[in-house]
Amino acid sequence: MMPKTPLSFTLNGSETALFVDPGANLLDTLRRGAGDLTPKLGCAQGTCGACTVLIDGEPHLSCLTLAETVEGRDIATTGGLADGPDLHPLQQAFMEGFAAQCGFCTAGMLMAAKALLDRRPNPSRDEVIEAIGGNLCRCTGYEPIVDAILTAAARMQGRSA
């Protein structure tokens, strides 16, 4: 058996250390190793975006990220969005706007949206569409998701949507 490799990184602000198998991807490492079940496995080939996480603030597909490459880096998942009982404005807007139906795409959508709002707090509708261009949703038809992201952006800026 191939030896496992020690790996440490920050996950939603907490130091995390574990061992990974050779060739393990980050998605599997987060779910099975770190117990963070928020990123989802949809396709394991980059097409659905359900596994999107932020690495040093930028969206990446965790299913296509070799786990060992995140040594010492900062990973953010949907698991770290809420502040205790208080949902993140994106989560709140998704809930209120029916932007999550089955919910399978939601964690990836939220992280793609967070990356956008962190960089552009006041995005246009087209920028929102572009930001979630790599995330598939089979339920909502996308419009409620785009609306929810714009609503969250407006609230975070203290504007009404």
């Binding site: 050779p22 793609a112 979630i132």
Partner: protein, 265 residues
């Protein structure tokens, strides 16, 4: 079968570590897919802690480190001519990961950037110091086990370069075909035209008969007629889930015409 990850300190070490059963890890968007789906063609991933993501002017062109991502290209003024290509590759997460080096090996329907490089007459620099034209590199890439260090792209004005990606899913989708054209003298009489098609063969290919037919002509209905007639000569389109070979041959002149006459995309 077990997989080994060989993490090395430098690109030089990575070049030494590559062999028939080893693959270099770029952004991983294709390689990790192969790993996830149990590809048995390799048993070692070579990963280098050192990467080269620099993009800079050098001589008469720009040098792009093989580790540069599509996002890096989009952030570089020097690489402005390539922005229309980098922008339509995947979504934001793919663009943050996908490297220039990996795109040179991407099988159809991928390889949009390699198609652009072929039209731009770019040169591939290998880590062992060897250098070769993109066309020779692409035709031998299946046997290549070397490490690509960088791509050198001759400087081209944004007006001289045109690119179209034809997809069946809007706004995002993989290429049914992509077309890249370097059109010196586009305002009047065309000079040394280079025309490349992606996803119209096992690797990006030049449409040499059409290039020839455009030389000395102008970008008018009349000037491009012969080029459109011969544009599939030498291409080897296949049939896949996006389109049949017949369909690709039928629509190639239509899309080439739109590109050359600048109508729509």
């Amino acid at each position: 079968m077990s997989l080994t990850v060989n993490t090395v300190a430098t690109l030089r070490d990575a070049a030494y570590a590559l062999n028939d059963r080893a693959r270099y890890l770029g952004g991983g968007t294709l390689l990790m897919r192969a790993v996830n789906y149990g590809d048995q063609a390799f048993d070692t991933i070579v990963r280098s802690r050192e990467t080269d993501r620099t993009i800079r002017s050098e001589g008469q062109g720009i040098r792009i480190g093989a580790g540069a991502t599509m996002t890096d290209l989009l952030a570089s003024r020097d690489a402005e001519a390539l922005h229309p290509v980098a922008r339509v590759i995947g979504g934001p997460a793919v663009r943050n990961m996908a490297t220039v080096g990996g795109n040179l090996f991407a099988a159809p329907p991928y390889g949009d950037l390699a198609t652009a490089f072929l039209a731009l007459d770019a040169t591939v620099q290998m880590a062992d110091g060897q250098s070769m034209p993109m066309e020779s590199f692409l035709s031998a890439r299946a046997r290549s086990r070397g490490l690509v260090a960088a791509v050198m792209v001759p400087r081209t004005g944004p007006q001289e370069f045109r690119f179209a990606k034809v997809t069946r899913i809007k706004p995002k989708g993989v290429s049914m075909m992509s077309i890249a054209a370097r059109l010196p003298g586009a305002g009047g009489s065309l000079g040394d035209v280079r025309l490349a098609f992606g996803t119209m063969g096992p690797m990006p290919l030049r449409a040499k008969a059409a290039e020839q037919a455009l030389r000395g002509r102008s970008l008018t209905e009349d000037g491009i007629r012969e080029a459109l007639r011969v544009c599939c000569d030498g291409l080897q389109p296949g049939t896949d889930e996006l389109a049949s070979e017949w369909y690709r041959r039928e629509v190639a002149p239509v899309h080439l015409k739109r590109l050359l006459l600048g109508r729509g995309r």
